[in-house]
């Protein structure tokens, strides 16, 4: 296990209640994990941020917590034992790709890199980044606080579970809400591996390549279209299961009637202010859906239907501001990655998220001309990188 010495933060901005603040402070100060506090006394934390983004809050950390400032990106990451790259916008907004590529290309070989949020604009860039990291033996992953969140109730599906459908109900602006929805749902794709390429080797069938094949993506961007879809093909069952986990329905209890009962999509229609829906299909007839329910709920929930019809649901729990203790879990996941060199979740997830978001964005723009038009299948994801079974030789 590596001795931790230097953690480098590569930031674009630093402001209160941002991911940059929450993560930087946890690496400077410490955080709670498994019922005890972990101090960060053994860490030397360095920050690189554009000069015009430097502010008094960072000065305070230099003074109070011995944060080290550098104006040279290469100097910041030189000799680092772990690097965290955080963009200036919401988690779903891509970073400065040039800077991200520079970091992954120039960190010491084997130095883990964590990128907060969406690591790039296009799947091609993600693939390129992945290739660089692989060549340089750099553990790499990305994600937001949602990827590391706890669940109410706690449950997980065993790898290999046959899943028919999944739905995440989220809220927020495009593309961050959709990004969070995919962060919640993509791991379920991993649970039910689709092995697309197999080869017989010495009498055994072995997986030679693992790919996710998306056969359809469809977006809906009006409340009436969203509600219509929620009522079709059994999605209402998943919707009811997911929304039953919400603790933050919107609306006025007197005006709307008590909003505890949102399980009827018609109540959804009554409350929604800006509803969107993105639906995805995979090659083995697995379907999943991100429902952006602005005006309806203020939290994140998910429901998953197994092949036998069993439905599981949970809330993706986000502890409240100002502490936003969910960042304790994200910091712990990153810290563990820096210690062990093992990413908490595959970077491959980020490829699929970006890949699908790219299509949804394209559709959103296209729909100005042709509403609800599905993109043409198939869309083939890349081969799974480290973490998946090795191809047979």
């Amino acid at each position: 296990m590596a001795e931790l010495r230097k953690i480098a933060f590569v930031l674009e901005r630093f402001k209160p209640d941002s991911a940059a603040q929450h993560l930087l402070d946890r690496f400077l100060i410490g955080y709670a994990k498994d019922g005890r506090f972990l101090k960060s006394e053994d860490k030397l934390v360095t920050v690189f941020i554009p000069e015009d983004a430097w502010n008094a809050d960072l000065d305070k950390r230099v003074k109070d917590l011995k944060l080290r400032r550098t104006n040279d990106l290469l100097e910041a990451i030189e000799g680092a034992d772990g690097v965290i790259v955080i963009g200036g916008g919401p988690a779903g907004r891509p970073h400065d790709e040039t800077k991200t590529e520079f970091v992954v290309s120039r960190v010491p070989e084997g130095c883990p890199v964590f990128i907060h949020g969406a690591p790039g604009r296009t799947p091609q860039f993600i693939n390129k980044l992945n290739g660089i990291a692989r060549d340089r033996k750099t553990p790499l992953t990305a994600g937001s606080v949602i990827a590391a969140a706890g669940r109410l109730p706690e449950w997980g599906l065993k790898p290999g579970t046959k899943i028919r459908k999944a739905m995440a109900i989220v809220h927020g602006d495009f593309p961050t809400a959709e990004y969070h929805g995919l962060e919640i749902l993509i791991p379920f794709s991993q649970i039910r591996h689709v092995d697309t390429m197999k080869r017989e080797v010495r009498g055994e069938i072995r997986v030679t390549e693992r790919r996710w094949m998306f056969t359809g993506v469809a977006s809906r961007n009006t409340t009436s279209d969203v509600v219509m879809r929620l009522k079709e093909d059994g999605w209402d069952k998943l919707y009811a299961a997911a929304v039953s986990r919400s603790d933050s329905p919107r609306g006025m209890s007197v005006k709307d009637g008590r909003t505890q009962d949102l399980s009827d999509p018609d109540m959804f229609a009554k409350l929604a202010t800006d509803a969107r829906l993105a639906e995805f299909s995979e090659i083995d007839n697995y379907h999943f859906m991100v429902v952006v329910a602005n005006g309806v709920v203020g939290d994140f929930t998910v429901a998953v239907e197994e092949a036998d019809g069993t439905i599981h649901s949970t809330q993706i729990y986000q502890p409240p501001a100002p502490a936003r203790a969910g960042y304790d879990r994200l910091a712990a996941a990153i810290d563990q990655m820096f210690e062990t060199g093992k990413a908490p979740w595959p970077f491959f997830h980020k490829y699929n998220e970006t890949f699908l978001l790219d299509i949804v964005q394209f559709q959103a723009e296209s729909q100005k001309q042709a509403a609800n038009q599905a993109a043409q299948p198939p869309f083939i994801g890349p081969a799974a990188p480290p973490g998946s079974p090795k191809p047979a030789r």
Partner: protein, 442 residues
């Protein structure tokens, strides 16, 4: 106390008028304040009845985010439960509401759902007839404009509502399950009398806070007969108010220790230097305090920060009025409750098992409107009320709430006596919990 004989109360028995009258004849013996040694409710529910049952809710006031609103709306509209929207099979048949402030919601709910608001408790329970006509009663006497006593305790009319309910039971020759929200009364004798009335008339009596049944983060079940040595709860809120929630947070774990609950022998409430001297002198309690704090999601940080590791100095700075209640149980077990107003805003537990292992969790109580709009910790509480009314058996022992009511009262006494040790020989409440904690976990 560990070897004291336990009296088995048959909570599952069916009732007829003859048996009811026989029970009433035993009032004198039942109402003594001699040691109360009860057994826990059976874990197995009886078969559900084939017709919808009805409940009456007796409330002090019904306004947005008042306790009564949370209960009433769950019975009228349903609530999320185990991944579905659950509509209770119990029908809300009547309301009695004591106060109607400008922001009253009772009348709107009454009109929209065609539920009568009755002018008296007796009429709410008899639905205007001469005999008890509902299958369960909820007493939600929290919030409202009520006087305070010399100790500063708000005199919510829980005991009064309860006694009027019991009177209807007696007049009708029939009793049904009762739920009392929060602690029983501000008078210990009244608390005991309420429990003894339930025993005398043989009805299931459920009471207390949402804390024992809400989500636990992480989901920690302590097995019965756990080798637990000490409990600490850390929370916030007012005395004679959220302190009760804190005691329930600790007690739903402490009661599962080897030998079960034995009752408490003393309580001492400390503030300021005395409190922190006590903490510094007891490494075990201090360790549990910090273990519980590590489960909090709301620790205050200095200006400009959102995270800061706790130290005693920092806690003192954030919470100058911090209060510690040091409870000694009759078998030597210790419970400490810290009210750290200004430092955190959630409820956290830590307990040490034999050998030093610490179990800890947050018992989640997000407050509306900032952290929730539903306050869904009421969901498991309402569900346990449903179970109690449907089966005729309390989902968990009311003795827990009798004891935590006593802790609340004795803690207030110690506080107003400047931290004097308050001996509590009258609180020798021994009981055993049910095998499975019924907190929300699915």
């Amino acid at each position: 106390m560990k070897n004291a004989p336990r009296v088995n109360i048959d909570r599952n028995a069916s009732w007829n008028r003859r048996r009811f009258l026989a029970a009433m004849a035993g009032t004198a013996a039942g109402s003594s304040l001699s040691p109360l040694v009860f057994s826990a409710a059976s874990d197995k529910p009886s078969p559900a009845p084939d017709k919808p049952r009805t409940v009456a809710i007796l409330a002090t006031k019904v306004a947005k985010y008042s306790h009564a609103q949370h209960f009433i709306d769950r019975f009228l509209e349903g609530y999320g439960w185990h991944g579905a929207h659950h509509k209770p099979s119990l029908q809300l048949a009547s309301l009695y509401v004591d106060q109607f402030p400008e922001n009253d919601l009772a009348r709107e709910r009454s009109k929209r759902h065609n539920v009568p608001i009755c002018p008296s408790i007796a009429e709410a329970l008899t639905l205007g007839g001469s005999r008890l006509a509902v299958d369960g009663v909820l007493i939600i006497a929290e919030h409202g404009d009520y006087p305070k006593n010399k100790k500063g305790q708000t005199l919510y009319p829980r005991y009064k509502f309860f006694k009027e309910t019991v009177k209807v039971f007696e007049d009708s020759g029939r009793a049904v399950p009762v739920f009392n929200d929060k602690h029983l009364s501000t008078d210990w004798k009244e608390c005991v009398e309420m429990v003894q009335d339930s025993r005398r008339l043989g009805f299931a009596f459920l009471a207390g806070s949402s804390l024992p049944v809400t989500w636990r983060i992480p989901s920690v079940e302590l097995p019965v007969e756990a080798e637990l040595e000490e409990s600490v709860a850390v929370c916030y809120g007012g005395v004679d108010s959220y302190d009760f929630h804190g005691y329930e947070t600790a007690q739903c774990m402490s009661e599962r220790r080897a030998g079960g609950e034995s009752g408490i022998s003393s309580i001492q409430a400390l503030r300021g230097d005395e409190l922190w001297k006590r903490v510094e002198s007891d490494a075990g309690t201090k360790e549990l305090l910090f273990a519980a704090l590590a489960r909090s999601h709301s620790l205050k940080a200095p200006e400009g920060y959102t995270v800061w590791l706790p130290t005693v100095d920092w806690i003192r700075e954030c919470s100058p009025e911090a209060t510690g209640f040091f409870v000694k149980h009759r078998d030597g077990f210790r419970t400490t409750l810290f009210l750290l107003n200004g430092y955190l805003r959630d409820f956290n537990y830590a307990g040490r098992k034999k050998g030093g292992e610490i179990v800890s969790c947050q018992m989640q109580l997000p407050m509306p409107p900032s952290n929730t709009t539903l306050a869904d910790f009421f969901n498991p509480l309402v569900n346990n009320i449903e179970q109690t009314i449907m089966t005729g058996k309390a989902a968990y022992p009311v003795e827990r709430t009798l004891l935590t009511s006593g802790m609340t009262l004795a803690g207030v006494d110690s506080l107003i006596e400047d931290g004097a040790l308050r001996e509590t020989p009258e609180m020798n409440i021994a009981y055993r919990p049910q095998n499975e904690s019924v907190y929300w976990r699915a």
